[in-house]
């Protein structure tokens, strides 16, 4: 027996399967000594050493190692280890280690450590390495009577230790039935409305492994270290067909998970969108943004014996394209996307719960209750008093430095928090105003019914009259109709305010049409103050993709409102021009006006909430030029308009900025939207 071997230095992978070898120190076999007083090693191999599995003739070697005989000072070569060699017909290759007379009791900690090490092996569900035989993977079963006594399938334990375990199969009508067992959610089910008619006898089992210890259900089997080793090599959803693995599925991104992540596809389609909308706190249009990497989904989809529609390619690298293959992909993605939406819901719940727990823990520390809106202030105050106490023990110059740095930091926190609170309460006010607006519009709509009734009554009266009187009455009914139509148009805009954001779906929205709608909303003021809004250079087919209609209208309303105020304040030559074009995959919308303009130094600041008039000249001049009753229409400037525009544009991965205006224009705003 050699103490150390150069074997692993010469060949660092196993000869048959090419598995990376571990334990380069050459003392692995001696570590068995730590586990028990006696070791029996039984190894079965062939002469050729390359054959594995059941063989016609096996050479079996059995050696007993009495570790108690290995006393300090003894020459290793003097210790007798009894052995036996025999030939076995029709036997299996492999090595067995039997450790008897356990040296010390296994603790739970030691057992957990063992499971985590073995988990990395259990994750090997089979793979292929160039130049080697196909690695069949490992099945590891642990029998530990002292630890809950049952036979443990370590791969199953591994699957159940991550954030969630996802299973799916098809019912007789071809609907997918998915089940997710996950941390913080328990067991959830869904039956798809969509059918997969080309699929039969398909079963999906996937572990959703998030690389965060907070999102693990069982840290005894799976540690962060184990997970980080395991995922790059064994992550992915493999395909097994009639019991055999089909390559390269699972090694490649066959489900286009990483592809979709790259595109930041947040919006699920069809019934999954509806499902996402039903979950409290979930923004359906962004519910897939937490989709994990393909390697974080560890499992298989099994295609059973009698599954039609799957035909292997001649080179055995995957299936030939067919409806069944396409539907298989859709089926697996349906299940994974559904679990992603549920995880999004879980994350949001956790964030809310975490903030409550943090608040409660903080309250315990300071020994008093704190209102939710005052948590940041109370925490900063507490930190201040603690820092003062601690800094007293520092030398004078050090103390001053620490206190000054701390004051700057807490000042920044307080002010930013105060600004956020102010914006939040203002937005709450606007939200409640929208409720009032909806009530108002509802009442006005019912009055419209009476207006229609009066018009119809007058029409009948007119029909019984002749000559001039008839014409007079018909003239009155015509005015009724115009007034009613105008009111209905304006009320149409208010209904967008009441949209239930959870039900509204981002969709393709044509820009020019919405400019026309917004122009109509400002018609009274633009006619009165002779403001020209020119949008000749907005092509009809400029379409913003995947935006709520209300969002695009909000952008246009806020931007045009600003421009209208500015041109009124400036005095003569009241022009606003909107143009649009496509550039590098984006819609570029330019809004120019002949208003007061903006100094370049204010180009950024003007987007800050509550900075309605950074140079102080807009509202001063507006006061001079605007009729008092028209103030209501253009608004007094909440200072939130451009901030809202920026938020919406950025949320849609666009940009908005003021640029130096072209000649003859005072201000130029550039918005880019996909």
């Amino acid at each position: 027996m050699r103490i150390a071997t150069t074997n692993k230095k010469k060949d660092d992978v196993s000869p048959v399967f090419g598995r990376p070898l571990t334990g380069a120190k050459g003392i692995g076999r001696f570590s068995c000594r730590r586990l028990g007083r006696h070791l029996t090693l039984i190894t079965c191999g062939t002469q050729e050493r390359q054959s594995v599995g059941r063989q016609k003739l096996i050479q079996k070697t059995e050696v007993k190692f009495p570790w108690t005989a290995f006393k300090p000072g003894t020459d290793v070569t003097d210790i007798i280890c009894e052995g036996d060699q025999s030939e076995v017909k029709n036997g299996l290759t492999g090595t067995t280690l039997i450790i008897n007379s356990i040296a010390e009791e296994w603790t739970t900690m030691g057992y957990s450590w063992l499971q985590r090490q073995l988990a990395v092996l259990a994750a090997n569900r089979g793979t292929r390495r160039k130049g080697y035989a196909e690695d069949p993977g490992f099945n590891i079963k642990l029998t530990t009577p002292d630890f809950k006594g049952r036979v443990k399938d370590l791969r199953l334990e591994l699957m159940n230790s991550g954030w969630g375990t996802l299973e799916a199969h098809l019912n007789e009508k071809g609907h997918a039935i998915c089940t997710l067992n996950a941390k913080g959610l328990g067991k959830k089910n869904i039956t798809s409305g969509i059918r997969f008619p080309a699929l039969k006898n398909i079963k999906l089992e996937v572990a959703v492994m998030v690389d965060s210890s907070d999102e693990m259900r069982n840290k005894r089997v799976l540690s962060m270290g184990t997970l980080r080793k395991l995922l790059p090599e064994w992550g992915g959803v493999q395909v097994r067909y009639r019991g055999f693995r089909v390559y390269p599925y699972g090694d490649d991104d066959w489900l286009e998970i990483d592809y979709d992540r790259g595109l930041r596809k947040g919006n699920p389609k069809g019934e999954l969108f509806t499902f996402a909308q039903s979950l409290k706190g979930v923004d359906a249009s962004r519910s897939l943004l937490n989709l994990l990497s393909m390697r974080n989904y560890v499992g298989n989809v099994e295609i059973g014996q009698d599954s039609p529609g799957f035909e292997m390619k001649a080179n055995r690298e995957g299936f030939l394209s067919s409806p069944a293959v396409e539907q298989l992909k859709s089926f697996v993605r349906f299940a994974i996307d559904w679990s992603t939406i549920l995880r999004d819901s879980y994350i949001r719940q956790q964030t809310a719960q975490d903030s409550v727990i943090a608040k409660n823990e903080f309250e315990e520390v300071i020994g008093e209750n704190v209102e939710s809106s005052r948590v940041v202030d109370a925490a900063v105050n507490y930190l201040e008093s603690e820092i003062k106490t601690i800094s007293r023990s520092l030398p004078r110059t050090e103390r001053k430095k620490v206190e000054q740095s701390f004051i700057k930091a807490t000042d920044a926190i307080r002010k930013y928090n105060a600004s956020n609170q102010s914006e939040l309460s203002h937005l709450r006010l606007i939200a409640s105003t929208s409720t009032l607006l909806l009530i108002f519009s509802h009442e006005v709509k019912s009055l419209l019914g009476l207006l229609e009734q009066s018009k119809n009554s007058l029409t009948l009266v007119a029909s019984s009259l002749t000559g001039g009187n008839r014409k007079k009455v018909e003239g009155i009914t015509d005015s009724f109709v115009s007034l009613k139509d105008r009111l209905e148009e304006l009320l149409g805009l208010t209904s967008l305010v009441g949209i239930d954001h959870r039900k509204a779906k981002p969709e393709q929205v044509a820009l020019r049409d919405k400019i026309v709608t917004v122009e109509k909303a400002f018609e009274l003021i633009t006619n009165k103050y002779q403001i020209q809004i020119d949008y000749e250079n907005v092509p009809n087919n400029i379409v913003v993709k995947k935006i709520l209609e209300a969002e695009l209208l909000s952008i246009l309303l806020n931007v045009l409102s600003n421009s209208i105020k500015s041109v009124i304040a400036a005095g003569t030559n009241r022009k606003i021009q909107i143009s649009a074009a496509r550039d590098k995959g984006m819609n570029v919308i330019i809004i120019k006006d002949t208003g007061l303009g903006l100094d370049e130094s204010q180009f950024e600041e003007v987007f800050t909430p509550f900075i309605a008039d950074p140079e102080g000249k807009l509202y001063r001049n507006l006061e001079k030029r605007l009729n008092p009753e028209d103030k209501v229409i253009v608004g007094s400037g909440s200072g939130l308009g451009l901030g809202i525009v920026k938020e919406i544009v950025i949320a849609h991965e666009g940009t908005v900025r003021f640029v130096k205006p072209k000649r003859n224009w005072s201000s130029e705003l550039e918005i880019k939207l996909p």
């Binding site: 229609e452 929205v509 049409d513 009809n540 087919n541």
Partner: protein, 326 residues
């Protein structure tokens, strides 16, 4: 003298009685206004159902001013009415935003109309009442009899047979067949372009602007749809007949939108242009975007994509949407 049609209007807003009598005069029908404000609707319905079945019922959707009971909406009342009169058409006249009414409640009405625009639906109300009456008087027993009610041209019959729903073909004896025929006729046969074209589609077929169609409309009077559920406020023309009449008037072998422009009375200013690119001869009609109230425009086929919210139907034109600029 023809007997006047009988309407019943059920409402909890007493002031609408005036509009009920306006309607009576405009449409030359007998309209009985049933004011249910402060009353038990169950009792009022009982009285109505014990009298003669009317030709049409108009009912308000939100019934907030009635005595508390099981009825809070017109749709619940409609369901009760149907138990006794399964084929009595019921139209909802309401002030609420129709988007707020869920689809299940909507399905209990034949139509929902806004009270603020009621006079625009005069023709539709007459059409619904007359058509249901005709169906009750002479219930079709076969598909051929149904097509007679459509007054379908010979060349359309085979295709119509293929698209006419199986559930209708096999259930002519069903006592709710009238409602189902109305539903399919309205939502598919009339509203989906294919067999019937509206003014915009007809104009596009002829290569002219929608407003210009009135200049040549008289030539196509034979093509006008006047079968069951036809509505003068929602006119349709048989596509097959439009093409036939066009061929009779213009003998050249060209595409219909090229031939249409040669009809008498038209000039260059009547010719249609593609909404997206201003190119000549837009071949189709498409929505400008996905929004609910999106307008439809004349447009080149290659400037459009299939509309994601509409499925394809055999023998009907594909519903399309303007393609975003590249």
């Amino acid at each position: 003298m023809t007997k006047k049609m009988q309407f019943i209007w059920i409402d909890d807003r007493s002031e609408r009685a005036t509009e009920s009598s306006n309607l009576q005069e405009r449409l030359n029908v007998k309209c009985q206004f049933k004011d249910v404000k402060g009353k038990d609707l169950n009792v009022v319905l009982g009285e109505i159902l014990s009298s003669q079945e009317p030709d049409l019922i108009l009912i308000d959707h939100k019934l907030e001013n009635i005595k508390s009971g099981i009825f809070r909406t017109g749709s619940t009342a409609a369901a009760t009415i149907r138990e006794r009169w399964p084929e009595c058409p019921i139209v909802c006249i309401t002030g609420v935003d129709m988007n707020e009414v869920d689809s299940q409640q909507r399905s209990l009405y034949e139509e929902m109309y806004s009270i603020s625009k009621i006079s625009r639906y005069d023709n539709s109300l007459i059409s619904i009442a007359n058509s249901f009456k005709a169906l009750r008087k002479k219930r079709p027993q076969t598909v051929e009899q149904m097509f007679k009610m459509f007054k379908a041209p010979k060349e359309d019959k085979e295709r119509l047979k293929a698209v006419f729903p199986k559930e209708l073909k096999e259930n002519f004896s069903n006592n709710t067949i009238g409602r189902e025929i109305f539903h399919w006729t309205k939502t598919t046969f009339i509203n989906r372009p294919g067999f019937l074209y509206d003014r915009l589609w007809a104009a596009t077929l002829l290569g002219i602007k929608q407003d210009s169609f009135s200049k040549v409309e008289a030539i196509f009077s034979e093509a006008k749809y006047d079968g069951i559920f036809s509505d003068d406020s929602n006119e349709r023309w048989w596509k097959s007949k439009l093409l036939e009449i066009l061929a009779e008037n213009i003998s050249e072998h060209n595409l219909p939108w090229e031939k249409g422009r040669k009809l008498q009375g038209l000039s260059k200013s009547d010719f249609s242009k593609c909404y997206a690119t201003k190119a000549d001869f837009p071949e189709t009609v498409a929505f400008v975007d996905e929004t609910k109230a999106a307008k439809r425009v004349q447009i080149k086929l290659n400037e459009t994509i299939p509309h994601p919210n509409f499925e394809d139907l055999l023998f009907f034109d594909e519903i399309r949407m303007m393609k975003p600029a590249e």
